[in-house]
Symmetry: C3
Subunit: 272 residues, 3 copies
C-alpha cells in the first residue's frame, strides 16, 4: 500500500469543490430537517451518520400530539443528546393560539423537552400583537424562537413586501431566524411557483429588507430549490424542510460533491 | 414551572380541530398501510410510535414470496403482537387462482401467520363463481376477508355500476370491507383521474349502492386524496395504501392537526 | 391443517410468472442499489431481507466523504459481510481526477474497504487516455471496475453512437459492466426523455455495438423504466439506481409477482 493508505480522512485527499462548511455550533449554513414521524431507531440511525449536518429537527404539523405514550419524550431526548434543537410544527402552535391555550401549549412543550418553538400564521391569521406576544412568551420560557412567514394556501396571496416587513419585525422582536414557507411539497407556496421555482424579484425584495441572508431559513424540500439557493447564496445558506433521507445528499450539494453544484465550478469544459 | 408543566397529555391542552377518532379495535376509521419491503427493525420502529393508528398492514403485490428465509415469519409475528391484521397483496392471490393453487396458497398464508386475505381481480379476470369461492374458502380457514374492486390497468374501463354491484355482492358473501383500487401511485386508476382526483358522479354511484361509507376502504396514497376523502366522509373514513412513513402525517390530517384539513374548520378568516 | 400447511416455501406453491431468476453470485440479473445516506441500522434491515436480491450498493455522489467518523467503515463492513460489492459514486472519482488525486483517491477507497469503483464522465470531460488509465489503475489495485456512459446535464447532447463506442472500449479495457446513465430522477438524462421513456432507436444503436445485454447495467430509478427494461430484456436484465426501499418491489417486478409485469403473461384475458 502507498503512503496514502493510512489516510482515513477524505479531506486530506479531496478538496471540497465549493469550499469548507462552517462547523457546528453555527449561525449560518443551518440545516433544518422535517420529521413526519420517523421511528426512534431510524432517528438514531439518522443522527449517528449525520449529526454534524443537522441543526434543527422539526416534528411536522401536529404529529407531536400523536406519538404513542413515552415515544415522544424518547425521541426528543435522543435528538437533544446530539445538541440539535427540536421543535413542534408551526401549525400546532397556531391551533394553540386559536384555542387560547398558548401558555399551556408552551408549558407542555417544555415538559416534553422541546428546545425551540416556531411561530407561524400559515393557516390562522394572527394580529401583529398576538404574533409578538407569542414570540416574547416563548423566548421568556427559554425556547429558541423561529418564526415563519408565508401562507400555506396558494389561494391566499400576500404581497412579498408584507412578508418582508413581517420577517424584519420578527427579528426585531427576538426571533433567532425567520423561515420562508415552502411546505413539504415546495410547489405553489410561499415564493415558489407551480414548478417549484422562485421569482427573482420576490427574492430581491426580501433581501432588500433583511440584508443578511443568514437571518433566513429557506424551506427547500426539492433538489432544484436547494441547488438554486446554494447557487445564489453559497454553501452556507440556511435550508429547511429537508427530508431525513436527503440530509447527506443535501450536504453533498452544499460542498459541491454532487453534479448539480459541482458544475458551478467546472468553468473550463475542456477534457482533462 | 406552571401548573400545566406536569401535563404530559396534549389532549388536555389541545382539542383536535376535527374531533376525536374512534379508538382501536374499530370498524371504521381504519388505516391500511402498504409495505413494499421495509425491514424488521423499521417495522418495529413504525409500530412502536404508530400502533394505535394502524389496523391493517399489507405486504404489497407478491413481495411475500421474496423475503430471505425466516424474515417473513418474523415480520408477521411482530405485526400480530400489536393486534394488527396482516395480509399478502391481492395480486399474489390472483396468481394462485390463475395457477389453480388457491387452497395451497391459503394454507401457506396460514402457515406463515397471515391473519387476513385480499381477494381482487386487478389483473386476472375472475368469474363471479370463482370470486365467491375464494371469499368463502378464505373465511372458512379463519382469515378476515377483504375484497378489492377496480382494474389496475387504466386501459381496462369498467363501468362504475359494475364495480358498485361487485362490492355489494362481496359484502353479502362475507367480505369484511371492500377496497377501492388506487394502486401505489393513485393516478389513472380506479376512480382516480390522471391528476389523482375522484369524479363526484362515480363516488355517488358507489355510495348509492353501498350506503354505509364505513364498508369501504379507499386506497388513497396521495395527500390530495386523503384530504378529499376526509373532507367528504370525516376523520373516520377508511384509508388504504398509506405509505409507512406517512402514517403519522395521515393521522394528523384526520384530526385536523395539519393545514390541509385544519382549514376546514377555520370558518372565520379574521385575525386572532 | 392440510398437507400443505408445513410448506414454508412459496416456490413449491406458486410458479413465478416470468420464471426463476439467476441466483447469486451471478453475472446477469444484477441489481445495483443507490444509497444516498441510509443509516447503519437501516442498511442492516435492508440486507437482512434482501441480500439475495442485491449485487452492488453505490454510495451516491460524494456522500462517502460526509459520514460521521467511523460510520463509513462500519457500513462498508456490513455490506461486505453479505458478499455485496460496494463503491462510491462516480462523481466523487471525477473530482479526484480533476484534482489530480486519482491514486490517493483509490488508496483511500481501499483503506475504507470499498470493493468496486465507478469511472464516469457525467460532469467532468475525460480524454480517452485518462479514462483508460483510471480503469486500468483501479483494476490493478484490485477493484471491480464499472464504467458509466452518458451526461448528467441534459443540455450536453452526446450522439448515442459516441456513447456506444465508449462503452465498447471500456469493456475492452477491462470494465466488468457499463452503466447507462439515468441519474436518481430518471428524467431528461442519458437515453431517457422528459417523461422517463427510452427511445427505441437509441436502444437499438447501443445493442448493435454491445451485443450482449448482460454487459450493461441500466440505471432505472422509475417503475416505468424497470417495467420497460424487464419487458425488453427479461427478468435477468441488470438494473441500477434502485432506491433501497424499492428492492423487494423491483424483485417482484422481475419475476412477474406484480401487476405491471404479470400482465405480460396474461395472454388470455378471459375469466377463470
Amino acid at each position: 500500500m502507498s503512503e496514502y493508505a493510512q489516510n482515513s480522512n477524505w479531506q486530506e485527499v479531496i478538496t471540497y469543490p465549493l469550499g469548507k462548511r462552517t462547523a457546528k455550533p453555527r449561525n449560518k449554513g443551518l440545516t433544518m430537517v422535517i420529521d413526519k414521524g420517523i421511528g426512534i431507531g431510524e432517528t438514531r440511525d439518522l443522527l449517528q451518520i449525520n449529526y454534524q449536518h443537522i441543526d434543527f429537527l422539526k416534528l411536522g404539523f401536529g404529529t407531536s400530539a400523536l406519538y404513542a405514550a413515552g415515544t415522544l419524550e424518547e425521541k426528543i431526548q435522543l435528538v437533544r443528546s446530539y445538541n440539535i434543537d427540536i421543535y413542534p410544527g408551526g401549525t400546532f402552535l397556531e391551533i394553540a393560539l386559536w384555542q387560547n391555550k398558548i401558555r399551556e401549549f408552551l408549558d407542555t412543550c417544555k415538559f416534553f423537552g422541546f428546545t425551540a418553538i416556531e411561530v407561524s400564521d400559515g393557516t390562522i391569521p394572527l394580529s401583529e400583537e398576538v404574533r409578538e406576544q407569542a414570540i416574547t412568551l416563548a423566548a421568556e420560557k427559554g425556547f429558541r424562537v423561529l418564526t415563519e412567514v408565508g401562507k400555506k394556501n396558494n389561494g391566499a396571496e400576500v404581497p412579498v413586501e408584507t412578508l418582508a416587513k413581517m420577517a424584519l419585525r420578527d427579528l426585531q422582536n427576538g426571533a433567532y431566524k425567520v423561515i420562508m414557507e415552502g411546505r413539504e411539497c415546495g410547489l405553489n407556496v410561499g415564493l415558489y411557483d407551480a414548478k417549484g421555482k422562485m421569482a427573482d424579484e420576490d427574492l430581491q425584495v426580501i433581501m432588500n429588507y433583511i440584508g443578511d441572508p443568514s437571518l433566513i431559513i429557506w424551506e427547500a424540500p426539492l433538489k432544484i430549490q436547494q441547488q438554486d439557493l446554494i447557487t445564489r447564496f453559497g454553501s452556507d445558506v440556511n435550508l429547511g424542510n429537508i427530508p431525513p433521507q436527503e440530509v447527506l445528499a443535501v450536504e453533498a450539494l452544499r460542498v459541491g460533491l454532487r453534479a448539480d453544484t459541482l458544475q458551478l465550478v467546472i468553468t473550463d469544459p475542456e477534457e482533462i
